[in-house]
């Protein structure tokens, strides 16, 4: 490769030297210079073609035409028109040696330009702007004659500064520019993030668009790329410095400070005096290679740039004003909503230099709502035409604060709320700390509590009272909760068939003892209860009814003995209707009947 490079270099310089000597004399104007360069280019390429036969097919005509045509225009157009073919050329021929070439050329240029070039080189080193770009910048001539700041929406003039007051009707000019800009519209803006330019008589109009106003700069000559970048910065600064004043159209054309702010940008840039002393040899080689180099870099950057731009543009809440290469990544400048998700940008090595703003992108509004509602799994929401609909449940204790926050979200016009408060957390906490839940299990829903298991009546009553007092809004479902000592249960135990077998013995069955306990509980619960003790017999013999009465009396005595007050007790018998001769002990029983008065 080094050899190939050296050969190409020798070819370029040695063969063209004589030709260039003549050229130097002939060069009287830029046009002529351009003419000549086109011939040199053709020659150089012809020689390169001997090494690679494809080269001339790809290059010969387009290069001649392209360079000649765009030479006197700005750098961007040269790159643009050469880009499609240059990409191929470079890959095929000089890819590997291009960097070395540029280094050589830079050295040559330095020698050729002497002091001035050294100064530029220093500037390039200090600012990080490529040396080649500085060369272009310093040798391009233009004049900024007028600057308009115009309201995007109404097309009304916000401020105008001009070199001389040449323009008759600035108001009409602003409106017309806006109309043209709107007409040209999306096609231009999408390619260049709000930067565009158009010819205007013998001048050019450069346009840089911001969120509220845009800038139109009327420039005579060939404005540099740097000037366009500057314009983008300028429009950003106008937005941040004068944002309040820009809101009311009545302020327009009388905003304090804006004129002084703009005036310094009316400038005239001349080609440097070094022109005469330029040594053309390195210039020609230099230009050739700068073009190649820039084209190649631009080609490479173009793809990366597009990719980065796509990522940035697909990030909701980010309003891009400028995207720039920085190191091996990019820097995106513009406005960023604090809620925007920029993780994708970080992954793709795109740094942010943004000012905060509030975006009204649906996606961002959604994100804001989501941030607030994320912790609450039982709520569903839907955002439609800036109306937020909420269904489901939200925790009772943060209910109000959630709505306070939602009401502050920018971009929601109204909230349709059909949610209900969710008490489950509070109910659960309450039950966990409740000291008597004996036998009770439960199931908690947002606004309903279901109790199961089996417990005592007293425990049940207390629990229900406490719950109702604490959570009046919660439905309590306790039909599945078994009350082990309910009144019905006690009564049925007492009245159970043939409770006591009466055998007149002194020891009493455990069954009887349990009945006594039940009767006590019942009387305790209903102090006016009456218990009738009914004696029965097997009706064997004529004294049967008397025996029945004796059985009832003896049990009554037993109950009184067991601390049951007499006033609660009565006795009776089930009289015999027929008498028989069969002894049947199982019919000698006492039954209990209860009467409760609540």
């Amino acid at each position: 490769m080094t050899r190939e490079r050296d050969v190409l270099k020798t070819l370029l310089i040695k063969e063209e030297l004589e030709v260039l000597e003549n050229l130097k004399k002939k060069l009287l104007s830029e046009e002529q210079f351009t003419e000549e360069v086109s011939k040199v280019l053709a020659n150089a390429l012809k020689r390169a073609q001997k090494k690679d036969s494809k080269l001339d097919i790809v290059l010969a005509k387009p290069i001649q035409d392209g360079v000649t045509k765009t030479f006197s225009e700005n750098k961007q157009s040269i790159i643009d028109s050469l880009l499609p073919i240059m990409g191929q050329l470079i890959r095929k021929t000089v890819t590997n040696s291009i960097k070395q070439f540029v280094a050589d050329i830079n050295r040559t240029l330095e020698l050729g330009f002497s002091a001035k070039a050294l100064k530029w080189r220093w500037q390039s080193y200090k600012t990080g702007i490529p040396f080649a770009e500085i060369v272009f910048e310093k040798t391009i001539r233009y004049q900024v004659n007028e600057i308009f700041i115009i309201d995007n929406e109404t097309g009304l003039l916000v401020q105008h500064v001009g070199k001389e007051e040449t323009l008759k009707d600035k108001n009409a000019m602003s409106a017309m520019l806006t109309a043209i800009k709107d007409f040209v519209g999306d096609s231009l803006q999408s390619t260049d993030s709000g930067l565009m330019s158009a010819d205007f008589g013998d001048s050019q109009i450069l346009i840089a668009t911001g969120p509220k106003v845009y800038l139109a700069m009327i420039v005579k000559g060939s404005p540099s790329e740097r000037l366009k970048e500057l314009n983008q910065k300028l429009i950003e600064e106008i937005h941040s410095n004068f944002s309040d004043s820009l809101l009311d159209t009545n302020n327009f054309q009388s905003i304090d400070g804006i004129e002084d702010f703009l005036r310094p940008y009316l400038v005239t840039k001349n080609i440097t005096e070094e022109k005469k002393s330029i040594n053309w040899v390195p210039w020609i080689i230099g230009l050739l290679l700068i073009i190649s180099g820039l084209s190649y870099l631009a080609y490479k950057r173009h793809t990366e740039f597009n990719q980065a731009q796509n990522i940035v543009n697909s990030t909701p809440g980010l309003y891009l004003q400028e995207l720039k290469k920085s190191g091996d990544g990019f820097v995106a400048k513009g406005l960023l909503d604090p809620d925007a998700d920029v993780s994708q940008l970080k992954e793709n090595n795109i740094q942010l230099e943004t000012k905060p703003f509030i975006s009204l992108d649906e996606e961002i509004i959604d994100l804001r709502i989501n941030n607030i509602l994320k912790p609450y799994s039982k709520v569903n929401y839907n955002l439609d035409h800036k109306t937020l609909s909420l269904t489901g449940y939200l925790p009772n204790d943060s209910y109000k604060s959630i709505f306070d926050r939602l009401n502050k979200v920018t971009g929601i016009n109204s909230i349709r709320n059909t949610t209900k408060p969710d008490f489950s957390m509070e109910v659960e906490e309450f039950l966990l700390n409740y000291n008597n839940l004996e036998g009770v299990s439960y199931n908690i829903e947002p606004d309903k509590l279901t109790l199961n298991g089996s417990t005592k009546l007293a425990t049940h009553n207390k629990l229900i009272t406490d719950l109702k007092q604490q959570f009046p809004e919660v439905t309590i479902e306790d039909s599945q909760l078994d009350i082990s000592d309910s009144t019905e249960k006690i009564i049925s135990q007492i009245e159970k068939d043939s409770v006591v077998i009466s055998d007149e013995s002194e020891s009493h069955s455990s069954e009887l003892l349990s009945v006594i306990e039940q009767i006590k509980t019942l009387i305790n619960r209903f102090p006016n209860s009456q218990i009738t003790i009914i004696g029965e017999s097997d009706c064997q013999g004529l004294n049967s009814d008397r025996f029945s009465q004796q059985r009832a009396d003896s049990i009554k005595a037993l109950l009184i003995e067991n601390m049951i007050e007499e006033s609660h007790l009565r006795t009776s018998i089930t009289p015999c209707e027929n008498f028989n001769n069969d002894v049947d002990d199982s019919k000698k029983i006492v039954r209990f009947k209860t009467y409760i008065e609540q």
Partner: protein, 162 residues
């Protein structure tokens, strides 16, 4: 105080929008762009009391195509509806063109070509309909100049909130 206001003329093809502006203003700005872009801009400065108001008149062509004129109506601060009194079809413009916040924008309606008395087709019914959209209605003629200057000046006053 010096202020500028954007005013759009809205009306069907050939009702006389351009003629009205030409009648009102002698110096027309940049007819050249009109054919490509479909808008012609004129300005008129009017002094009312201590105020000087610049009316930026947007004479837009092509109200037959929504995609075309919509951009241009953005942010308008005053409206001149133009109808052709001899052409009933031109009375429908209100239904065809929708403008957000219409009620808050000062507006007048000119029923133009009032010099053509024998072809006049505006009846009470139509007038009634027009009144639903705009309260100030004048009959004008771009040909004779009748009611042109007065009407434009009246809108200027409305724009100043007078």
């Amino acid at each position: 105080m010096k202020i500028a206001k954007k005013v759009c003329l809205i009306g069907r093809f050939a009702v006389g929008k351009t003629s009205l502006v030409r009648q009102y203003i002698e110096n027309q700005f940049s007819e050249k762009y009109k054919t490509t872009v479909g808008v012609s801009i004129s300005t008129k400065v009017i002094d009312i009391d201590d105020h000087s108001i610049s009316m930026i008149l947007w004479d837009i062509a092509g109200f037959e195509q929504e995609g075309h004129y919509k951009h241009y109506l953005r942010g308008t601060q005053g409206i001149i509806w133009v109808l052709d009194g001899t052409e009933p079809e031109s009375f429908d413009i209100f239904e065809k063109v929708s403008i957000p916040d219409l009620d808050s924008i000062p507006a007048i309606c000119l029923v133009n070509k009032c010099d053509l008395k024998d072809q006049w087709r505006l009846n009470e019914d139509s007038l009634q309909k027009i009144r639903q959209y705009v309260s100030t209605i004048h009959y004008s003629s771009a040909k004779t100049g009748e009611n042109v200057e007065d009407s434009f000046n009246e809108l200027a006053k409305k724009l100043l909130g007078q």
